[in-house]
Amino acid sequence: MKDILRQFINDNFLFGLQGRTFSDDDSLLEKRIIDSTGVLELIAFLDATFSVKVQDDELLPENLDSINRLVHYIEKKSKAAA
């Protein structure tokens, strides 16, 4: 899952540019990787790829702002749906 998320972020926000690295814990906001519409692109991607529907009250950096937070959030949502 981490690889899929990383690939999406790399292709979609960093356009595969070399020299822009980030760890699984790095904040996508603080690293300026994601912008305001980027969040909406991320939400669409989570829905399309993991069938995760982000509710309005879940639209928080705590859920979406790093690879590890995203993994945790997706797993939590998937369990709840199961």
Binding site: D11, L14, F15, L17, D35, S36, T37, D56, L59, P61
Partner: protein
Amino acid sequence: MIERIRHRGPDERAVYVKERVGLAHARLSIIDLASGQQPMHNESGTISIVFNGEIFNFPELRQELIRKGCRFRTQSDTEVILRLYETKGEECVHDLNGQWAFAIWDKNEQKLFLSRDRLGIAPLFYTQAEGAFIFGSEIKAIFADSRAARRVDTAGLNEIFTFWVNLPPRTFFENIRELPPGHSLTLKDGEVRITSYWRLDYPPAPQQQRAVDERECAERLLELLVDATRLRLRADVPVGAYLSGGLDSSVVAAIVRRYTDTRLKTFSVTFEEAEFDESRHQREVAGALGTEHREVPCSYGNIGRVFPRVVWHAEKPFLRTAPAPLFFLSRLVRESGYKVVLTGEGSDEIFGGYDLFKEAKIRRFWGVRPESQMRPLLLKRLYPYLPKLQAQSPAYLQAFFHVDTRDMSSRLFSHLPRWELTSKLKMFLSPEVLHRVADSDLYGEVEAQLPEDYDRWDGFSRAQYLEAKYLLPGYLLSSQADRVAMAHSVEARYPFLDHRVVEFANALPPRLKMKVLREKYILKRAATGLVPESIRNRAKQPYRSPDGKSFFAGGAGEYAEAALSPERIGRHGIFQPAAVRKLVEKVRRGHAIGIKDNMAFVGVLSTQLVVDQFIDHFGEVQ
């Protein structure tokens, strides 16, 4: 040279060459159709002029000169400049109310004198090459002279990918200079001297708190606007008007209908997509004013297909497709038998209509209490027409629009978000280009150009200054106005940019321009009873057009694919081929929903096309 800009004046052409001076002119006949030919000379042949534009107060100036003993041979405004120069020399520009770029050869003085209007409506470029001084209304005329080298100025590219525009006199091309608005240039004995004869000015901040009578201000403003519009109807051909569906163009059209006996034809562009289309409001105004209204529909495909031609006319990269629909609009004007239109351009700069002014106000308000959770919610009020922004949670709004306390003390505070966002597009620049611009201090360059009293102005006036000094002439009046209008030999005229209106507006306290978050307050008050209430009270809807979608939804992708191919990108060396490929894919799939990606796409594509058209294949472009 003149052949290259024939679109600016298809009615007549003439060239004057004597000794070491050559002047050429392409005429768009609007005033004194019979005898206003150029280049024009005085009787003794010692003073010669070529002139693009209009001097709207020329009848008054003419009468004054006749009273002083001047004799005129024509009814033209060109001769008025000539006689005024004979009388007053370079100081003549202070008397002119209009939009102009002119060149005067003064044989006795052996001096060339160039001048450009106060706000930068008419373009004027020049270069020095191989001992020659070459100038023209468009860069393509200069490039027609083989002595002028055609090369990209990396610093100019860096400016456009920061500010949207160049900081005059720099342009996108190396060694090609733009005469800044409100400036004159003299060339004598091989020396170029550039002087400012007018600039935007605002009262010191403490004075802005003074008491003023709002009613009187609104009345005076209306008087000035009526006179500015009346003057801009002066022509020996019919004058039409653009209608955007917003307040500004409606005010201009309403003044024509209410205060003159002119029958008015109005012109609008409409869009397929509701997000951009304003036809309902345009028709409402046209119906209320009783104008003869014409529309041109603009589809995604139209924009994509015409884009290369628009780039050819703009002569520099731009970041949105907005000039393209206006290209169709000017074509409609021309096909309707018109060659002059009035527009509402300039009002947003002088009355504080843009969201940028509101955003700066909110950011200042928020910056005082950066921890506030509620203040960022005001941003949602700011952009009601941006559904993507409305979808954001307060937590993310807080994160994205966070006001840095360091920004609060910046002299360029109001424009930092726009410039920072635009600067992100530089991620696509090649390492070589990035290396070349690495040491540049663009904000420092802007600061170095600021007038001495800038720091004494309030924040609102500073924001207005930056907007009217840079984006207005560098993009709105050029790529989005003069160039796309002149592409079809149409002259646009701007009542709001009459310098008397600008000076009056600049002297008004900011609270009369933006009351709390209500933009253009004093103009709305002045327009009471003039335009339909629904238009007067309508929230500002900025003019926008579809970006990335235009290139793939309508079958225009072929040339875009070629221009953005890794081979072409690599050959030009400006951008990174692999990154651009991913951007193109994202746009093609319809996944580029944000402003940044769309700006990047349009910016990269237009840059590639400028290089194709002006450097690689200049002789081949028709």
